[in-house]
Symmetry: C2
Subunit: 524 residues, 2 copies
C-alpha cells in the first residue's frame, strides 16, 4: 500500500505487524488508545532484598530464556559496557533467538554484531543502527527486519505494547541497594537516564547494573526503586572518556559557518524569534555553530529563550550560564559540560524521553518547540528527509529525535551542504524516508535557502530577509549540474528493516542490498 509519503509498504508487513501505513503527522491526534498491561512482582516482604552477585544471577532470577527481548539505554554512548556484558552473559548461558531493544546502538556494541552473525540475536529494535550492526542488517544477516524508531516513537511503542520488554538492563552511574538509580555521582556519570525510564516502567523485570553503590536513599532518583527488581554491582559500567568527550569540536569550516549564520538569520526573520522562544539543535558542526550565531541576535533584540531541549552540549550550557536561556530540559548529555550542568545547575532539568518526544502522551516538549535545527543525509523535492540509510543503501544513521522535533516545532530547519564529496544531499527521491516533508519547513544549504511551499507564512517573512531564497527544485538542478545523476542502488526484494513513523504507522521499509560483486556483474 502506498503511504502518505509515497512509499510502497508491502501488505504482508502491515498484516504481520498489525500496522497501518503512515497517514500524515497528525493522524492519531486525540484518538483514544490503550497502553499495554504491565506485569510486576510486588515487594511486599520488607526483609527480601534486591542485591545479586552477578549479571548471570540477575538473569536467572528474571527467568531469562530463549526468545526474550532485552532492553538497554545508550546514555553511555561509545563508552557503554552494559550491552556487551549482558549479551556476552546471555551467550554464555546458551540463550538464543534474542531481541535487543535499545534506545540506540553503535560502535561500542561489537558483541551484538557478533551475535547477529552467529544467529543468536535475531531481532533488533533501535534508533541508531550503524557500523558493523548496520552492515550486518543491510546485508541480510539478521533473521527478522530491524525495527527503527525515533526516540519519541520508541516510548510510544513500549507503552502501546508494540514491543514487550522481558528484562530491562539499566546501567546506572549510582544505585542504592534498593534500586534508586541516579545518572550522576559515580565513576561513569552520564547526566540523565531519560531513555530508560519507560523501560523500567514496562519491562517484566528491571535489572540495575552499577559500579558505584551508595547509601539508601539515593535521592532524587532518575529511576525509582519502585521500578527496579534487582541490583548488580560490576567493576565498570562504562568508559568515561568515551561517554562524553570533554571538548566539543567547534567548526572552523567556512561553509559550515556560513550555513550556520544563514540558519540563525532564518530564525531571526520569523515571528517566532521573540522573547520566550524555544530551541533545539543537534550536535553536528553547523548545528552547534547556530547556537553561537544566536547570541548576538538575542542580545540585539534583548530577548531570552524560555527553554532549550537536548541533546545538550557546552554551547547551550554557556547560554544558560550567561542568562540567555531560562530553562534547559535534558534528555541526553553530549559532553562533560552538559553532565556537570545538569548535576549542578538547578535550572537544568532531567526529563524522560516521553516528556521530550512521545507523540501519544498528553503533550511532549517537542510540541512547544519554536525552532529545531536538524541535519540530513538526503532530502528530496518533497522535503522528505533520510537520516537512516546512506546513499549506498547501507544503514548508517539514526532517526533520534529528528521526526519528533520536526513534527512538533513551529519551524524545523534542515542544515546540510548541497553536496558531500561527490554525493548530493538534495535528491529526486530519498533512499528511505525518516522524516516526512510535511514536517520539514526550511532547508539551509551552501547554495541557498529553500522553503517548503506549504509554509506560505515563512516564504513571506523570509523573502524580505536578504537571504538567498531558492526552490528545492533549483537546488536539485544545481546538484545534478555539479555531480551528475547518481548511480541507482541495487536492492533485493527482501525487507531487512522497517522504519516506523513516530505514531507507530509504517513510514518506509529498508531492503537488502545486493552484495557489491553481484552489482558489478549486473552492471558489467
Amino acid at each position: 500500500m502506498i503511504n502518505a509519503v509515497g512509499r510502497d509498504i508491502p501488505d504482508e508487513i502491515l498484516r504481520k505487524y498489525g500496522k497501518e501505513p503512515f497517514r500524515g503527522v497528525h493522524y492519531r491526534d486525540n484518538k483514544p488508545y490503550k497502553k499495554a498491561e504491565v506485569t510486576a512482582h510486588g515487594m511486599v516482604d520488607p526483609m527480601r532484598n534486591k542485591m545479586v552477585s552477578s549479571i548471570r544471577e540477575a538473569m536467572e532470577k528474571c527467568n531469562a530464556h530463549d526468545g526474550m527481548v532485552f532492553s538497554f539505554h545508550h546514555h553511555f554512548r561509545d563508552g557503554d559496557h552494559i550491552v556487551n556484558m549482558v549479551m556476552q552473559t546471555a551467550f554464555e548461558m546458551g540463550l538464543k533467538d534474542l531481541t535487543v531493544c535499545a534506545s540506540s546502538l553503535g560502535a561500542a556494541h561489537s558483541v551484538v554484531a557478533d551475535l547477529i552473525e552467529k544467529g543468536i540475536v535475531t531481532g533488533i529494535q533501535t534508533s541508531g543502527i550503524r557500523d558493523r550492526i548496520g552492515e550486518a542488517v543491510s546485508y541480510g544477516k539478521l533473521k527478522t527486519p530491524a525495527i527503527i524508531r525515533s526516540h519519541g516513537g520508541r516510548v510510544r511503542a513500549i507503552e502501546e505494547g508494540d514491543v514487550h520488554i522481558d528484562i530491562a538492563f539499566i546501567g546506572a552511574p549510582t544505585a542504592d541497594e534498593y534500586g534508586n538509580l541516579r545518572a550522576v555521582g559515580g565513576k561513569s556519570d552520564c547526566g540523565v537516564l531519560s531513555y530508560s525510564m519507560v523501560d523500567a516502567k514496562y519491562a517484566d523485570y528491571t535489572v540495575a547494573i552499577t559500579d558505584t553503590l551508595v547509601p539508601f536513599p539515593n535521592y532524587p532518583p532518575s529511576i525509582p526503586m519502585t521500578d527496579v527488581d534487582y541490583v548488580c554491582v560490576v567493576d565498570e559500567i562504562g568508559n568515561p572518556a568515551k561517554i562524553a568527550s570533554n571538548v566539543i569540536r567547534m567548526t572552523q569550516d567556512v561553509r559550515e559557518l556560513k550555513m550556520a549564520e544563514d540558519c540563525a538569520k532564518v530564525m531571526a526573520a520569523t515571528p517566532f524569534f521573540k522573547d520566550g522562544f524555544s530551541f533545539q539543535t543537534g550536535g553536528g558542526g553547523a548545528s552547534l555553530a547556530v547556537t553561537r550565531f544566536l547570541e548576538p541576535l538575542m542580545e540585539e533584540r534583548n530577548i531570552k529563550m524560555s527553554f532549550a531541549i537536548g541533546g545538550i552540549t557546552k554551547p547551550m550550557c554557556d547560554l544558560l550560564e550567561k542568562g540567555y536561556i531560562r530553562t534547559v530540559v535534558d534528555a541526553q548529555c553530549f559532553d562533560k559540560t552538559a553532565i556537570e550542568s545538569v548535576k549542578n545547575d538547578p535550572r537544568h532539568y532531567e526529563i524522560s524521553t516521553s516528556e521530550y518526544a512521545n507523540p501519544l502522551n498528553k503533550g511532549a516538549f517537542v510540541n512547544k518547540l519554536d525552532f529545531v535545527i536538524l541535519g540530513a543525509l538526503e532530502i528530496d523535492t518533497g522535503f522528505n528527509v533520510n537520516v537512516t540509510t546512506g546513499s549506498d543503501g547501507v544503514l548508517r544513521g539514526a532517526p533520534g529525535g529528528h521526526p519528533d522535533t520536526a513534527a512538533g516545532s513551529r519551524c524545523s530547519i534542515i542544515v546540510a551542504p548541497l553536496i558531500r564529496g561527490r554525493i548530493p544531499t538534495v535528491v529526486e527521491g530519498v533512499v528511505n524516508v525518516t522524516t516526512p516533508g510535511e514536517a520539514v519547513d526550511v532547508l539551509v544549504t551552501d547554495y541557498g535557502v529553500a522553503i517548503n511551499p506549504k509554509r506560505k507564512d515563512l516564504i513571506e517573512c523570509l523573502s524580505a530577509s536578504g537571504l538567498h531564497i531558492v526552490t528545492i527544485q533549483e537546488l536539485l538542478s544545481t546538484a545534478l549540474n555539479i555531480v551528475g545523476k547518481p548511480e541507482p542502488i541495487h536492492f533485493e526484494d527482501d525487507i531487512v528493516g522497517i522504519i516506523e513513523s513516530r505514531d507507530g504507522t509504517i513510514m518506509d521499509v529498508v531492503r537488502r542490498i545486493k552484495p557489491q560483486t553481484e552489482i558489478h556483474e549486473i552492471i558489467g
Copy 2:
C-alpha cells in the same frame, strides 16, 4: 469466610468484588500480577491546546456522564475547594450514580455528604471517612458499600484496576497552560502532590484545576504535562489557612508526654536505634512529642537518622535543619513549616504515594522503615488495631498509612492512652480491624508497655530497659477494672463499608448501625 484476623467476610462480598479474604501481610509477595490497561488520548497536534474556561467545559470535554468515577487528592485538607466545586458542577449538570474516589474525605466536603443524602453520589472510595460523610455511610445512606483503603492500598487498587478512574480532578497550586503542575508557588501551596500522581497516570482523563497560572514550563513538575488533558483556572482552589495551620500544637498533657518519652525509650532499647535509622510518626500529640524526646537520645549516642517519612511537620523539619536527619521524603505536608521546607531545602523531597507505601510496587519506603509511631482508636489482645470506626461503630477515622507503615517497618509502635473518657482503648475484640496484629509490635500506654508475643527479640531487649512491661491481657484487665465492660454495639446485617487490606484482600466489613432509637427499644 473467616480471614487471617478472624473476621467473617461474607462470600457474596468476595464474589461480587472478585476478592480474597485477608491471608496475612506477606501473602502476595513476589507473585506476578497485571496492572490495569490505561486509556489515553495522544496530543500529537502541537497546535491543539488544553485550556478550558470552566470546570463544566472540562467535564464536557471529558464526556462526563452518569455512573462515572471522579477522583481527588486531599493535600488541601480542611481547606479544599476542589471536591465541592467539581461535585456541585456535576450536580448542576444533572449527573447521577457517581462515585467519589478520593485519597481522603473530611469536614471540607459537605457537598459530597449532601449528594449522598440525595442519592446522586452512590459510591465512595477513600481512606478517611468522617463527620457527615462517615455518619451518612454508617447509617446506610450510600447505595453501595464505601471502600476504605490505606494510602498504599489506594495506589495498588488504582494500578490493579480495582477502581477505574474516569476523570481525575487535580487541584494544583500552580500550573502552566500545558499542564505541568507544582505543589508550590501559588496562593494555596500544599507542598507535595503525592496522592494524585497515580490518578494522573491511570485516569482516562486528567483535569488540572489551579488558581495560579504560570509560564511554561512550570518545572520541575509534581505532575507532568504528559499526564494532563485539560487545565482550568478558577478564583480559588483552597483556603490556605485551613490547608496548613501555621503552628502545630505541642502537647503539654503530662500523660501524653510520659507516653511519648516511654516510646522514645522503647526505640532506644532496640538494636534498630543506631546511626542511619529511619523513622516515621503521625501528627497526634503523643506521636509528635516522640520526635522531641528523640533528639537528646540521638545526641547522647552521636547518631543520625538516614531518612524520615511523613506526614511531615515542624518538629521533623527542625531535626532536619539541626542535622539530625539526612533526608526527608514527603508524601504529605501537615503544616506551613513542612511546605516551606520541601520548597526550599534540597534534602527534603516530594515522593509519590506509590514510593511511600504501595505494597505491590518493587519496593516502597515503608519497607525501609525502622520505626513507626502510630495511634489507635482500639487495639485488641491479638494486637489488631482499629483506626476506622469509633467504639460506637460510626465511621470516623482513616487507615491512612497505618497498615502500610506497620507492615513495612522493623518496629511498629502504637501509642495510646488505655482509656479515653470512659472508653477503653484495649479491648477484647476491636469493632473493625484496620491493621492486623501480625504487623503491630509494641503498644505504649499510660499503664505500661505491651509487646507482641511474636516479637521475642523485642521482649528480650525491652525487658532490660527499665520500662514497665506488661502483657496486653493485663492492660485489658486494668481497663475492665476501671471502666467495666463496654455495652455491645448493635448492628444490622447489611454491609455499608469494606475495609480492604493494603494488598487488596478483604480485612473487614463495616455493618450498618441501628438507629439510636431502635437500640434503646431493644435495650429497654
